[in-house]
Amino acid sequence: MLEAVVVIIAPIIGGLIYGFERVVCARMQNRQGPPLLQPFYDMGKLIDKQALIINPYHSILGIMHFVTLWVVVAFIILGQNLLYVIFLHLLSSIFLILAGFSVKSIFSHIGANRELMSVIAYEPILIMLAVGFYLINGSFDISVIRDNPPQILQLFFLFLAFLMVIQIKLKKSPFDATEAHQEIVGGVEIEFSGVFFEFLYMAKWLEYVFVYLLLSLFAGDNLALGFGLFIGVFFLVNLVDNATARIKINHLIKIVLMIGLTFGMLNLVGLSYV
């Protein structure tokens, strides 16, 4: 029952995290920043706005992206199979990419292209993460992982690789080439407006819930450690965001694949032989 409630309020939790992040980010830049509930104000406004529809598929794919992401989050909360989660998440990204390609705007195409390339960069790490959990727990089930003691020490290198995935997924510099506000004005989200943009906006919140829930898996049954990890990584991500510039998409793939794959492989090899 509790889990069902958590699933329903998941977007709201994500919104709160996002709002808090905007305040923290502003404070790191020495300014006051928006109020904490700003994302919800934005949401209220976007419902009220007129929606311009480019073509039906574009809008529906945007909504599908949001719905699939919600299912992904629900799967994690309900303790389903980790592999399902990762592949469903891939599906949700594919919906977004298809939406990007379904309109004529050139910026949307470039954004979708970059999104696709970033998927290539981070997906192997997520799969290796699942394999790593399997090697320790003997099961892909998230409920099993949650019942076991913390696994962060055994999976330390994969944890480091996962930090880069967080940067990509949350569109934080240096790995925010997919959104790249100053180059391609938000990439795939450029043609969405009104209510349809709101689904994309809320999908962003769910993305926060998704990555931080995946992160909490490292802590296993230790809730306090899970919370500690969340706080620590949250500030780390924002500090790195405020200390780096955006790097190009080809650099992103090179760096993430090189470091991420090396770390992941190292960890997996270590787990299977030690």
């Binding site: 905007r22 502003a26 830049q29 020495n30 300014r31 006051q32 920043g33 928006p34 109020p35 700003q38 104000y41 934005d42 949401m43 209220g44 406004k45 419902i47 009220d48 706005k49 007129q50 929606a51 311009l52 506000h181 004005v185 938000g186 450029i190 043609e191 969405f192 407006s193 009104g194 943009f197």
Partner: protein
């Protein structure tokens, strides 16, 4: 149920277009995003994307070439929206009034809700103007508006009212009466 209109006031996203200004007002808009004035505390984000914006900041006296793009951007913005003319030259043409490639103010082409004067205007005035614009945004309906000058004033030449000409006209009328 919820009154959604009140949220408009709390999250206005801005779009900025330079229709031929001297950069002075543009850098002041940039400066009002900076830490000292920090527009984000009103929930303002500079989106740069007309499809997701609520407030249209226009600077400059509208040159001949930029007017097409100006109207295009205005039409691309979904309702409800507010247009803010920033700086003297976008209000009335300012010092460029009457030059051959200039159209004397934004309100000839799109309906302007708030006029911010000053040459160059300051971040302080921009905040004042935006606060006033937000009040107007809350009352707006979702119907499209028409520019005030292009349709109303058909008596003068091409719809432009020259201050000096009209002032002289007033003088002539007076002479005739005497």
């Amino acid at each position: 149920m919820f009154n959604l209109k009140k949220y408009r006031k709390r999250s206005p996203w801005i779009l900025h277009y330079n229709a031929g200004s001297c950069n002075g007002c543009d850098i002041e808009i940039l400066a009002s995003l900076s830490p000292k004035y920090d527009l984000e505390r009103f929930g303002i984000i500079n989106t740069g994307n007309p499809k997701q914006s609520d407030i249209f900041l226009v600077t400059g006296p509208v040159t001949y070439r930029s007017r097409e793009r100006l109207i295009e951007l205005y039409i691309q913005m979904p309702e409800p929206k507010v247009v803010v003319a920033v700086g003297s030259c976008s209000c009335t043409g300012g010092v460029f009034r009457g030059m051959y490639n200039v159209e004397d103010g934004v309100d000839r082409y799109i309906p302007v809700d708030v006029y911010i004067s000053g040459c160059a205007t300051s971040p302080e005035l921009i905040i004042d103007g935006l606060v006033k614009g937000l009040e107007i945004l809350e009352k707006k309906t979702k119907s499209m508006e028409k520019p005030s000058k292009l349709f109303k004033d058909t008596t003068s030449r091409e719809g432009i009212v020259s201050r000096r000409e009209s002032a002289l006209r007033v003088g002539e009328e007076r002479d005739e009466e005497n």
